[in-house]
């Protein structure tokens, strides 16, 4: 039943994901300190731990007549699906789960975010949450198709849906070199699916925190952990898809994978401090009439190269 699954890897995976996610949060904290004109002491790296401790102490909240079941289910789904998605990412050469449909698997885990975020917004019986949840759906309608096509473009280049084989196919040339549009679209989607930085409108300040508006205590922590975990999982996936996986001189492949993942993650975090929020009502049209044709043309180019 679990032939393709590295069991001890599966046990370690959630914690490894948390660790990488915490690194992203630490980096974000450092950039925030710099933006505020403060010194960035070494202990800034502990800030995510501090935030987690804070949320563990803070009381949970219940709004009037929430749909508590759906609310909590939605929040928990974020992290669970992030672990599922990360399972097919080869850490160097070997993923926790080797599947011949790994690319589709990742995509399927990602679509569960549609449900997760909407439920988180709906469950609280609060206007801000409602607006945030629906904003995420609108955002998902915009980024999902370009992202699917970006995944397919990488699979096309390798002729396989197995992520390990996609990485292996880049032995001579990293896909990012001749699929730059697909890479950029994938990174945009990575930001959008983890409603992070420029695509954080579902949790926007203008709507009192959107999907996060009524969450406190551990309920909030679970959602935030899931969000960072998705950011890390998406960054980790971009490496075997476009950046040659664990390929690199001297160092072991897992270390190369980690280094590349952290580099992508750093870029994604940096973007948060560099760009304002992209409003969904404007992004919708841009995604459909600019991003979508662009990635289709990219796929066409790749398929012509492949044959």
């Amino acid at each position: 039943m679990t032939d393709g699954l590295a069991l001890w890897g599966a046990v370690v995976l959630p914690f490894g994901l948390l660790l990488v996610a915490t690194t992203a949060a630490s980096l974000s904290a450092a950039l925030g300190s710099a933006a505020a004109g403060r010194a960035v002491p070494v202990r800034t790296v502990l800030q995510p731990v501090q935030e987690a401790a804070r949320l563990l102490v803070v009381r949970r909240r219940r709004t009037q007549h929430p749909d508590a079941l759906l609310w909590r289910l939605g929040g928990g789904t974020l992290f669970v699906t992030a672990v599922l998605a990360a399972a097919v990412v080869p850490i160097g050469d070997a993923p926790v789960l080797r599947s011949e449909v790994g690319v589709v698997w990742f995509n399927a885990a990602e679509t569960l975010l549609w449900a997760a975020l909407w439920l988180t917004g709906w469950g609280g019986n609060s206007v801000a949450g409602l607006i945030g949840g629906y904003r995420f759906l609108a955002q998902a309608l915009a980024y999902e198709l370009p992202m699917m096509l970006a995944l397919i473009t990488a699979a096309l280049g390798a002729g396989s849906l197995d992520v390990v084989q996609v990485a292996a196919a880049q032995e001579d040339l990293w896909f990012v070199v001749w699929m730059p549009v697909a890479f950029v679209v994938f990174l945009v989607a990575a930001l959008a699916l983890s409603f992070w930085g420029p695509f954080s409108q579902p949790a926007g300040s203008d709507a009192a925190g959107g999907v996060l508006a009524e969450l406190s205590g551990v309920d909030r922590l679970v959602v935030l952990v899931g969000r960072y975990a998705w950011l890390a999982a998406a960054a980790g996936m971009s490496v075997p898809l476009f950046l040659g996986g664990g390929a690199g001189p001297l160092l072991p492949s897992w270390l190369w994978w980690l280094a590349k993942t952290l580099a992508v993650l750093a870029a994604l975090v940096w973007v948060r401090w560099r760009w304002p929020v992209v409003r969904v009502d404007r992004f919708e049209e841009i995604a459909w009439v600019v991003l979508l044709p662009a990635i289709v043309v990219q796929a066409l180019v790749v398929s012509l190269v492949v044959i």
């Binding site: 950039l31 505020a36 401790a53 804070r54 801000a128 300040s205 203008d206 709507a207 929020v277 404007r282």
Partner: protein
């Protein structure tokens, strides 16, 4: 209680401004920025409720009841006490025993917990009996889209971060679109003007003119979701209001020019704000760009900058501009008119 010292080393603060609380808000924002305590968007995420000024009583109380706890409250009447008040609030968060007692007193339904009477009852809905939680179900109303769907009565302000002090916007929300809007005020509508007038006496008209615009810019950037540049704008603003010699003005000028490069020329921000809130030929984009050029001009010339006049019936204008916009556009439009609504820019003009 080492854990709570660790956990609340960096408490989250919900900062709301009451009419006349500009000085206190600026003081609080400065201390929070220097300490690296984050400002938050909703009471659920807040450990400290900080009210700048004192004119927000019933609204702030209701928000106070929504803080999950451990919680602490700062009502700041005198800006010079900002640091001490926040220290006290943090100490209160460290006190686990007292927080436990506070939490124990709050175990009933929320209606029993709010302190203070005479809550303004939204739109005068009759109390709904037999309805879940005593709340009505939303009713339907026509819409420009031709679908007869539900309307929510959603008030915006006054106890809302990054919002003009004292402004209350009663909206009828259909989906995320404000179908109808009604403007009212808590307290004095132009409550910020006296603060900026006295600031001009303290640090000179040029630096005040620049600081007032940077303050407006920072609030707009917060609503536009650009935290990094919001912090930078506030840093320059605080430096300009610090008093001191001419070097400050030059440092402020350098900071402003950087902001002009990054924010004024940002194509993303322009694309997100263009066409919103058209008024006298300018939209939101034009207004924040004007703030930046005006601020730079004021610092370069060392004199006050002329204020673009806006119509006197600003409330009606606001109603017209906001009707039919969706929520994020509405917030941006309000933020772009903030300095006129609160009198921050009108004050500058009055002195000419």
């Amino acid at each position: 209680m080492d854990l709570s010292r660790f956990a609340f080393a960096r408490p989250h603060v919900l900062l709301v401004e009451s009419p006349g609380g500009t000085a206190s808000r600026l003081a609080l924002e400065r201390v929070l920025r220097e300490r690296g305590w984050p400002l938050t968007d909703s009471p659920a995420d807040a450990d400290i409720l900080a009210v700048a000024g004192t004119g927000l009583r019933p609204y702030a109380d209701r928000v106070w009841a929504q803080l999950p706890g451990p919680r602490a409250r700062v009502d700041l009447a005198h800006p010079e006490h900002a640091g001490g008040a926040l220290d006290g609030a943090q100490r209160a968060l460290f006190d686990g025993a007292a927080q436990g007692e506070d939490a124990a007193t709050r175990s009933g339904p929320p209606s029993d917990q709010s302190e203070g009477d005479g809550m303004p009852a939204g739109h005068g809905m009759p109390a709904a009996h037999g309805m879940p939680a005593g709340l009505d179900m939303a009713d339907r109303a026509p819409d420009r889209d031709g679908l007869l769907l539900d309307v929510l009565h959603v008030p915006w302000g006054p106890a809302l971060p990054w919002w003009p002090a004292g402004l209350v916007l009663h909206s009828r929300l259909q989906g995320d679109v404000l179908a109808e809007v009604e403007v009212s005020w808590v307290g004095d509508a132009r409550s910020a003007s006296s603060f900026w007038t006295s600031a001009a006496e303290a640090v000179g008209p040029a630096r005040t003119a620049a600081a007032a615009r940077l303050d407006a810019l920072g609030r707009l950037l917060a609503v536009a979701g650009w935290e990094g540049e919001r912090l930078r704008a506030q840093r320059v603003r605080d430096a300009l209001l610090d008093g001191g010699e001419d070097a400050v003005r030059l440092a402020g000028l350098a900071g402003l020019q950087r902001l002009h490069q990054r924010v004024g020329r940002s194509r993303t921000l322009a694309r997100m704000t263009s066409g919103l809130g058209r008024l006298g030929g300018g939209d939101v984009t034009a207004r924040y760009r004007q703030w930046l050029t005006d601020a730079i001009a004021a610092l370069e010339s060392g004199a006050d900058s002329p204020v673009t006049p806006l119509p006197d019936d600003l409330d009606d204008v606001l109603t017209r501009l906001l009707t039919g916009t969706e929520v994020s556009s509405a917030r941006l439009v309000v933020a772009s008119l903030d300095p006129w609504l609160t009198g921050a820019l009108v004050a500058g003009a009055a002195r000419d």
